[in-house]
Amino acid sequence: MNTILKIPEPVQTFFAEIGELSYFSGRFFKEVFKKPYEFREFLRQCYNMGNQSLLLVAVTGFIIGLVFTLQSRPTLQQFGAVSWMPSMVSISIIREIGPIITALICAGRIGSGIGAELGSMRVTEQIDAMEVSGTNPFKYLVVTRILATTLMLPILVFFADAIAIYGSFLVENTKGNVSFLLYYNLVFKHLEFSDLIPSTIKTFFFGFAIGLVGCFKGYNCKKGTAGVGIAANSAVVYTSMLLFIIDFIAVLVTDIFYSL
């Protein structure tokens, strides 16, 4: 019988991966509530992820604040709206730029790290060794990491937002002679909880996606040591793509919610 429609192999692989990732996340929700809770490992992961990403996130946030203000200032000046700068910068950073840039940085820094670490543990049989010692490696390695990224990302985003706004203040202070107090008054004058809450909620999803994809790629790593590199690399690529999809959905949902 002739085949009417043949689905190309990359498309088949893509959908197979989506299915496997869904199963993996289902297993996470099944295991997360089961005892024993790996609290010490969870705290260790939180510390590692938060502490090791702090400087990178801070530098990036600071530069974004500087660049964003430097580039927007001339345009606002043309319209005589420089006084809107603090509000515009803060709302842009808190609603969108802070969360997405921090998440992308963490996808590169944390997601690839998780993919490489778990991938290496898989190919050197350390995960099997954990299993035969009577420890559930999924709970110990995967659940703790996903929980840690989910919790740490919003904290890192808050930190990056604050640093970015400070960077913006430095430009305004240098170029416009605006005082710290005035700048922050203007920032908070137009900033509302409706800006902060949806963007904070989406950072939890960003963190979850970073942990989930990194763990999925590393935990299912194949093809020996070459597979470790592939796992780390594909963790970043898939996570970045997923972050933009989540961001789009989050913006859409927020928009629908506020238009009601």
Binding site: E125, Q126, D128, A129, M130, E131, S133, G134, N136
Partner: protein, 233 residues
Amino acid sequence: MKSYGDNNVLNGFNMELYEGENLVIMGKSGSGKSVMIKCLIGLEEVDSGSIEIMGKDIVKLERDEMDEIRTEIGFLFQGSALYDSMSVRENLEFPLRRHPKKFGIIEDTTPLVTEALQSVGLEDAINLMPSELSGGMKRRIALARTLILQPKIILYDEPTTGLDPITSKEIIMLMQSVQKKYKTSSLIITHDVDCARVIANRMILLIDGINYIEGTFQELSSSKDAKVQAFFK
């Protein structure tokens, strides 16, 4: 029975391991030895058949029950599989702290860790990281990690592969001394004829997914069968 697609790796394989014996299983690369040993510990699922360990069919066990059985079975991996983010002490403490049912809650693990390291002659390596150890030392530490749970059965997956002849001999001697000290039953998968000669009470040759022939080292090494002779040339 265990197959991957059309490839029947194990096809009617059958064996028994008696208390206190050293059973050696030999076979060509790709003959299914590692798959068989992984089925025994539950790392691979069999397609059909049963695996009875200490009176329990592990094929039907839930995860928690399997984990309890696993405290009675040690597994020495071919590549040692030490946790490379943990020191030697932490590697040994890891299984110990996770089985309060067997050992109770242990406040100070040092005596147990030291005893296990003494058994393999490496008590000075307690604070080293796996990256600081040689291949032979890694294998010994992995054996110490296996011993710390005081298992009744130890499964060795190619224990001397990748080691120089002198270190191989040391590992074989160590396996013998461990067996005497802890009164364990051992299942050893190996290509190493010297290892089999020294350690085997009984041997099985695994060919085409079945136990082709069974007997003592002397019986098998003097066999006229060409397939059997190929292993001893």
